[in-house]
């Protein structure tokens, strides 16, 4: 089975966001594999181990993403592809990313594509379904279970807390929701092996794309931080009085109840 995983390098969830010159300051920030993409990588490895085949992890970004691709290889993926758009694309959005990925995949024999259901930085969740649409294959988002039997696929989809049991077939794109699996940590031998696994680097040219073909349709005109929350009032006195005071404050001062 030919399995592809779409992976994004993102800020560590521990990071605070700092702006400089109106942009997100990345200096000194730690980066990780987008947590939802980790579920996708883990699932891909499990599917390969059960059904055979090969797992290729794809990332669109700059050369810094090599580190996260190596981590995916260390977890057990077979190959990695970095589509480096840094020099070619100044302004990109989900339209851009999806088009680049679809252009790469359309030449391949694809059975299964997995991605995270959302990236915790941009937070749009668009790229997976857009890629499926461009490749004209079905997709199911926010899945918590995946069973494959030949070309028949049964997935469980999380829908705002309820679960849908869905039948579909390969080729298919799915996006991972928390609960799908427990992603493994790369083992030491895994890390050693990863150094020798193939990591291919491509640019737009290699995909026969021009910058104009993938020009963003949207643009960010401003980034700002939410107003800083001031620490509020910690109540004191007898507990019963504190509770009474709190209800009073919520009712009369904050007016939320």
């Amino acid at each position: 089975m030919n399995i592809y995983v779409l992976m994004k390098r993102t800020f560590d969830t521990e990071e605070k966001i700092v702006l400089s010159g109106g942009k997100i300051n990345e200096d000194g920030a730690e980066f990780i594999i987008n947590p939802y993409d980790e579920y996708a990588i883990e699932e891909a490895i499990q599917v390969r181990d059960a059904h055979g085949g090969e797992v290729t992890v794809i990332s669109v970004g700059n050369e810094e993403a090599e580190k996260q691709l190596r981590t995916a290889l260390a977890m057990g993926a077979d190959k990695a592809v970095l589509i480096n758009t840094e020099d070619d694309i100044e302004n990109s959005d989900q339209y851009t990313t999806a088009k680049v990925i679809a252009e790469y995949l359309k030449e391949k024999e694809v059975d299964l594509i997995l991605g995270g259901n959302v990236a915790i930085d941009g937070g749009t969740g668009q790229v997976g379904p857009r890629v499926a649409e461009l490749l004209n294959i079905p997709y199911v988002t926010t899945i918590t279970k995946l069973d494959i039997d030949g070309t028949k696929v049964t997935v469980t989809r999380d829908v705002e807390g309820d679960s849908e049991i869905i039948e579909t077939s390969l080729p298919l794109l799915v996006t991972a929701q928390q609960g799908l699996n427990e992603p493994r940590y790369p083992s030491l031998p895994g890390i050693m092996k990863a150094k020798k696994k193939p990591l291919e680097e491509l640019e737009l040219d290699d995909l026969d794309l021009e910058e104009d073909d993938v020009e963003a349709k949207t643009k960010t005109i401003e980034i700002f931080l939410p107003p800083k929350k001031e620490a509020g009032k910690v109540l004191s006195g007898e507990l019963t009085d504190q509770v009474k005071e709190l209800v009073y404050l919520l009712h009369t001062e904050a007016k939320v109840v």
Partner: protein
């Protein structure tokens, strides 16, 4: 510049979701005086058309088919694309719900258009339609515009105020017949797990529990408090990981991002990943026995104490308030 804007209404258990009315309100802003056309897709939804009009739509297009009884991306995208083809809108607004998140990127892919997901505000400024949306799960915000093609956005529930319902409004409710075929995903079964009642993303009040609730049973007093306030129960990842509750209740950077009027955090330490999901709530109350807990740094009001003591007392006190008001 006036525009024709489509709004997809979302029906759940026979009624329209609030976010649909909020989407109409957003569409009015985008339309800049142009026409707002509601769209309803399903198998028996036409009775709800007039409701969209009362909330501000000018007219409504209905696509009904047995195969549209349940949402599938294939069925709904065929229906919505047919409406888009007929109406040729210059804007589309959909709620950023499970359905909207699943459907909108597909439609944008088909139209080769941009898509601004999860907007929390929309305004017209400097000749542009400007959307505000959270990034880094609410640790920052961006303002975004469409630079090419249709203005397409999804709006986060609970952020854009709906217009007041106007019973006197009338408009045309027309149906469009679409041949729905080749559904590639089939829903075999729906397992209802979500807590009955109020949806987390739409709740005005959320009572949330962390590892401090100590067990699944520990959520009971929180549920009672939420019930009195007409709210929903959420959780930290700590509580989900400890299997006190389902992951669908998780709030935070890798869970739901919520912005209720009132968020009551019980036995939650206030890790940065949790704060990302709730710190833009209007009013935050923290109940924690550790006075040094980080959650107090973002709380408007705090009580240092044992949640098992404080929460039931709060429930009683709110009950009294409800009786008096």
């Amino acid at each position: 510049m006036s525009r024709k804007v489509l709004v997809l209404g979302e029906v759940r258990e026979g009624s329209l979701r609030n976010v649909s009315f909020e989407a109409i309100s957003a569409a009015k802003t985008v339309a800049e005086g142009g026409e707002v056309v509601g769209v309803l897709i399903g198998d028996a939804v036409s009775a709800l058309g007039s409701e969209l009009i009362k909330y501000g739509a000018d007219r409504v297009v209905i696509v009904e088919d047995e195969k549209l009884k349940q949402y599938t991306s294939d069925g709904y995208s065929q229906a919505l694309l047919a409406v888009i083809d007929q109406e040729k809108p210059e804007g589309i607004i959909i709620g950023h719900t499970a359905l909207g998140k699943d459907l909108s990127p597909r439609i944008a892919g088909k139209l080769s258009s941009g898509l601004i997901s999860d907007a929390t505000a929309v305004e017209v400024a400097g000749g542009n339609v400007v959307f505000t949306r959270p990034i880094y799960s609410g640790k920052a915000f961006e303002k975004k515009i469409v630079t090419d093609g249709i203005i397409f956005a999804t709006v986060r529930p609970n952020n854009i105020a709906p217009l007041e319902k106007d019973e006197s409004r009338n408009g045309e409710v027309a149906s469009l017949s679409v041949d729905i075929k080749d559904l590639r995903t089939i829903i075999k079964e729906v397992v209802r797990k979500a807590a009955e009642g109020v949806d987390l993303s739409e709740a005005k009040v959320i009572v949330s529990g962390g590892r401090g609730v100590k067990s699944a049973d520990g959520f009971k007093p929180l549920k009672e408090l939420a019930d009195v306030l007409g709210g929903a129960v959420g959780a930290s990842r700590g509580a989900c990981d400890a299997e006190y509750c389902d992951y669908s209740m998780q709030i935070g950077q890798t869970g739901k991002v919520v912005t209720p009027d009132l968020y009551i955090a019980c036995g939650i330490s206030g890790a940065i990943q949790h704060l990302a999901g709730m710190s833009n709530s209007k009013v935050i109350v923290a109940i924690n026995k550790d006075p040094e807990a980080n959650i107090f740094k973002v709380a408007d009001y705090g009580i240092v104490g044992d949640l098992f003591e404080v929460v039931p007392m709060l429930t009683e006190e709110f009950k009294k308030l409800k009786v008096h008001s």
